[in-house]
Amino acid sequence: MSDIRDAADFVVVGSGAGGAPAALVLAEAGHDVVVLEEGPRVRPEDRGLATSEAFARLFRDKGTQVAMGRSVIPILQGRCVGGTTVVNGAIVWRLPEDAYERTFGSIGARDAVPLRALETKFDRIEKDLSVAPASDALLGGNGRLMRKAAEAMGYRGHAIRRNVIDCQGSAHCLEACPTQRKQSMEVTYLPAAERLGARVIGGREVRTIDVRGDRAVAVRGRDAEGRSFVVEARRGVVVAASAIQSPCILRRSGLGGRKHVGAHFRVHPGTAVMGIYPDDVRIWEGATQSYEVDEFRKDGFKLETVSLPLELAGVRLAGIGESFTRAIADYPKMAVWGVQVRAEAEGKVAPSGGHASISFTPSERDMLVFKRGVKLLAEMHFAAGAKRVYPGVHGGPYELFSRDEVDTLDDLPLDPRAYGMIASHLFGTCRMARDAPDGVVGFDFGVHGVRGLWVVDASVFPTNLGVNPQHTIMAMAMLAAEGIAERAPSA
């Protein structure tokens, strides 16, 4: 069977927070752009489904992707046109100056990726995507209780800034917004790029990049039916396939060197603590994630609400039979808050058959931060009036009934196997560095030693940000694409 053949000035691999803004900027500059996305387009009937069905249709490996290490940590990523922006909590965080310094300042990239330039992109994105703090109505019971706790304990907190228009508060952000109110990439930048002539093609998995001489000239892969395709890139290839897939594509192609591609994998692992309140909370009403406490961000963690659907709330509850029945019966009175840790540990990503092999184990310092976060969340639940708290740590108390019992959490184990963790913010596997021996891409986002090949997703961050990354990825991708449009090799 002959290959499906196509060509464009720029081939953008991936359609999420990195690929979509990059494609839009390149299209705005008048270039012929094709965006290749492994996953399918999101149809109206794919939105707001039960969690398992959303996982099956819209997530990588149908939601079963995990990092293996001392414990098994689910790694959730979107796999659809729009990428993870379709299935995230719509949280928009401007990169704070201290995080910028840690990320770009620490590698000497202040001139190449200036904070001021990122700020202008943040301004544009926030306008384009209608970013605003969650209204009081959208805080829902979950957010209102966290606000009450923050105020009672004197912690700095605020309504989460979100990219939504007229959000209906269905708490279905993670299953693709059922009413298309979330301003994710498949309803914003991708259609905008298409209006300028870009082609967005779902169901096209890029496996390798062809290089002729020292220049990237095409991508190869297979479509959803298993047919091979080749797309020639007259001016270059922009890889934005995520911190998991981008290094796998480079590694399969023998590009980027062997030392750093797939190494330095960083994440923000998270876990949740549940509180049961005297009155109804009804976490299925309001924004999925509506309020956060960033008092401890510089200590390496952030606290935020997460309105887990019934299916996932049950997963977080230990116990069987009567114990489970009693706990889950209180679901309408349940508030669920999570701690997200800026973990210092590094893992690895490598292609393995048709998938990615991911390894990651939190360090002891990471686990100390986790433990502190769990304890703080328990204290906050009681400060907000919870009558019972489920810390959710194996080996610790199953439930707490008063604030006086919270100190028992000082004895929680530091073994990651005791915690039910999850990670969805992924970084570092094609890290940026001025010189080839130290990283995969240079300050111009170009892969060292290859012309016409750039990486513009979270894999280039040399560390994890400590805040929700989609905003920074979008801004960085726009900035990178402006440079690419100007400096790319001629056709």
Partner: protein, 132 residues
């Protein structure tokens, strides 16, 4: 490609387990076991292999955990409760995690079940046929 599924016997035995784990009616537990069968047939091979192995172990290893050479559904209710508790509260991570995996996937079916959602006065969610 369908590599894994549950036969009629495995589904029936699993339904007994799920009724105990969730404190649920036999009818709902049967539906959830049916959901698990569909999930297994549609899941990526590696995940399906792990889940199928975990289900097999839970159905057939009372001999190891409570010393009874019987499948799980043939245990007396009190013994079965003790057996399942030994899985869920095990100090061995892999044992606990295997049980957690089965429970987690089963909860996807349980939490989307119309009877369950009606019980919580929650809006229904669409759990359409998985193989679309």
């Amino acid at each position: 490609m369908e590599l894994f599924g549950l036969g009629e016997g495995a589904r029936a035995r699993l339904a007994v387990v799920l009724a105990d784990v969730f404190g649920e009616s036999p009818e709902v537990a049967r539906d959830v076991a049916q959901f698990m069968d569909g999930y297994l047939r549609d899941a990526p091979a590696l995940a399906a292999l792990g889940l199928r192995a975990a289900i097999w172990a839970i159905l057939w290893l009372p001999i190891v955990f409570v010393g009874r050479p019987l499948p799980v559904d043939a245990l007396a209710p009190e013994t079965r409760a003790k057996y399942l508790l030994r899985w869920s509260d095990s100090h061995v991570y892999l044992v606990r995690e295997a049980f957690y995996l089965v429970k987690a996937i089963a909860l996807f079916g349980w939490g989307a079940h119309p009877v369950v959602r009606a019980r919580f006065a929650m809006p229904l969610v669409s759990l359409t046929a998985r193989r679309t």
